[in-house]
C-alpha cells in the first residue's frame, strides 16, 4: 500500500460543511504577524502529552525548538519531521521571511492541536474558538494551518 492508497481510504470521510467561511482580508503580508496552527500534536517536553481524544491545544513557544510529536495515529510518515521540524512546522522558514522583510513578524506563540479527532463538535465549539481567541489576543493577523 502506498501513501496514495491511505489517502484514498480516508478521502471520502464525510466532512463538515461550513456555509459561510470566515473570509478575512489581512493587512499586507509585510506588515502582518504570522502564526502557525498545526494538527501535528506538537508539544514541548514539559507540557502534557495529547490524550487519545484530546480536543485541546498546546501553546508553542517560537523561541524553542524542542518539540515532540504527540499524534496517536500511526498513519503518516514520521521520518520527515524527525529529520526536519520545518516539514511540519516551518518556524525557521518564517524567521527567514521575517528577516527578509517579506512578513511583518513571526508570532511569539503558535498552536498545536491533535489531528486525530473523533468528535468535531467539541473542537468546533470549544478548543477551536479558544485557540483563535488566544491568537487574536497576541495580535496575529495571518494563520498558516499545517495538517498531520
Amino acid at each position: 500500500m502506498a501513501d496514495q492508497d491511505i489517502k484514498r481510504a480516508v478521502q471520502d470521510i464525510e466532512c463538515p460543511v461550513f456555509e459561510q467561511p470566515a473570509f478575512t482580508t489581512p493587512p499586507p503580508l509585510e506588515e502582518a504577524t504570522v502564526a502557525i496552527v498545526t494538527s501535528a500534536s506538537l508539544h514541548h517536553p514539559d507540557q502534557d502529552d495529547f490524550a487519545p481524544k484530546d480536543t485541546t491545544y498546546r501553546v508553542l513557544d517560537a523561541s524553542r525548538r524542542d518539540y515532540l510529536v504527540g499524534h496517536w495515529s500511526p498513519n503518516f510518515d514520521t521520518a520527515g519531521v524527525a529529520a526536519d521540524l520545518n516539514v511540519v512546522f516551518p518556524l525557521d522558514r518564517l524567521d527567514e521571511l521575517a528577516a527578509q522583510g517579506r512578513i511583518g513578524k513571526v508570532a511569539d506563540q503558535h498552536l498545536a492541536f491533535a489531528g486525530n479527532q473523533f468528535d468535531l463538535a467539541q473542537i468546533r465549539m470549544d478548543g477551536g474558538p479558544a485557540g483563535a481567541a488566544f491568537l487574536k489576543e497576541q495580535g496575529v493577523d495571518v494563520v498558516l494551518l499545517t495538517p498531520v
Binding site: 501513501d3 473570509f23 517536553p45 524542542d66 518539540y67 510518515d77 521520518a79 524527525a82 496575529v140 499545517t146
Partner: protein
C-alpha cells in the same frame, strides 16, 4: 485573522471548503513537502501566502506532487548479533542505542521514545510484544502503557536511530517500511498485532500498532 490551510488530501480540502486552501499532493506527515530542502519549503509558503491576495474563498493546487509508489524502503544496516541469549529483536534494539543517542544529539527528539517509554525501556517493551506474539494475552504481557503508544515509541526509536546511520533523509514512508519489514522488532510488532487480532482483542487496541496497510488480510 486570515487563514491559509495546507491540505494533503485534496478531496477533503474541497469538502471542507476553507477560506483559502492550498492542496499539496505531498506524503502524509510532510505538509511542507521536502525535509531539509529550504528552497522547496519556501516555494510552498510563497504560494500559500500569495493566496492572501484572493478576494474570495477558494482552493488552489500546488503544481508539484511528491508521489509515493509504496515500494521504496530505506536501506539501513542493522547491528550484528551480540548477545546470543537475548531475543534477536531485543539484541537488535540494544545494538541501535548508540546510533539513537547520536541522532537525538544531532536532530533532537521529535518522534523517538519519550511519550510512553524511555529509550532505556525499549528492549523490555519489545519483550512484552514478543510475549504477545507467542500467545500471552496482551493484558498479561506487561506492556508498559497503551500498546499503540508503546509501539509508536519503538517505531520512533528505530526511525530516529536510522537517521544517524544513513547519510540522507529517507523518502516518505521508507523508514517505516524498513522498520516494519526489515527489522526483527518490526516482525515482532506485526506478529503481536496478528496475535491480538486472532484473539479477538478490541480492534482499536491492535489496529494502531502499525499503519493501516500493515495487516496481511
Amino acid at each position: 485573522m486570515a487563514t491559509v490551510a495546507l491540505g494533503s488530501i485534496r478531496q477533503q480540502m474541497i469538502g471542507t471548503a476553507p477560506p483559502r486552501g492550498l492542496a499539496c499532493d505531498f506524503p502524509l506527515g510532510r505538509p511542507i513537502g521536502k525535509p531539509n530542502d529550504a528552497e522547496f519549503q519556501h516555494k510552498v509558503l510563497a504560494h500559500a501566502f500569495s493566496m492572501l491576495k484572493r478576494t474570495e474563498p477558494g482552493v488552489e493546487d500546488f503544481p508539484e506532487s511528491i508521489p509515493d509508489e509504496g515500494t521504496e524502503m530505506l536501506v539501513c544496516p542493522l547491528p550484528p548479533r551480540h548477545d546470543p541469549d537475548a531475543h534477536p529483536a531485543v539484541d537488535e534494539a540494544r545494538g541501535l542505542r548508540v546510533a539513537y543517542d547520536r541522532a537525538i544529539e544531532k536532530y533532537g527528539n521529535r518522534v523517538g521514545a519519550g511519550r510512553a517509554i524511555s529509550a532505556d525501556d525499549v528492549p523490555s517493551a519489545i519483550e512484552s510484544f514478543i510475549r504477545i506474539s507467542e500467545g500471552t494475552p496482551w493484558k498479561e504481557a506487561q506492556v508498559p502503557g497503551v500498546p499503540a503508544r508503546v509501539a509508536q515509541d519503538i517505531r520512533g526509536y528505530y526511525e530516529t536511530a536510522a537517521l544517524a546511520i544513513v547519510d540522507h533523509t529517507p523518502a516518505a514512508w521508507a523508514g517505516l517500511r524498513w522498520f516494519r519489514d526489515a527489522t526483527q522488532t518490526g516482525k515482532v510488532i506485526r506478529a503481536a498485532q496478528q496475535a491480538m487480532k486472532d484473539a479477538d482483542v478490541r480492534r482499536d487496541l491492535w489496529l494502531f500498532l502499525l499503519p493501516m496497510d500493515s495487516m496481511q488480510d
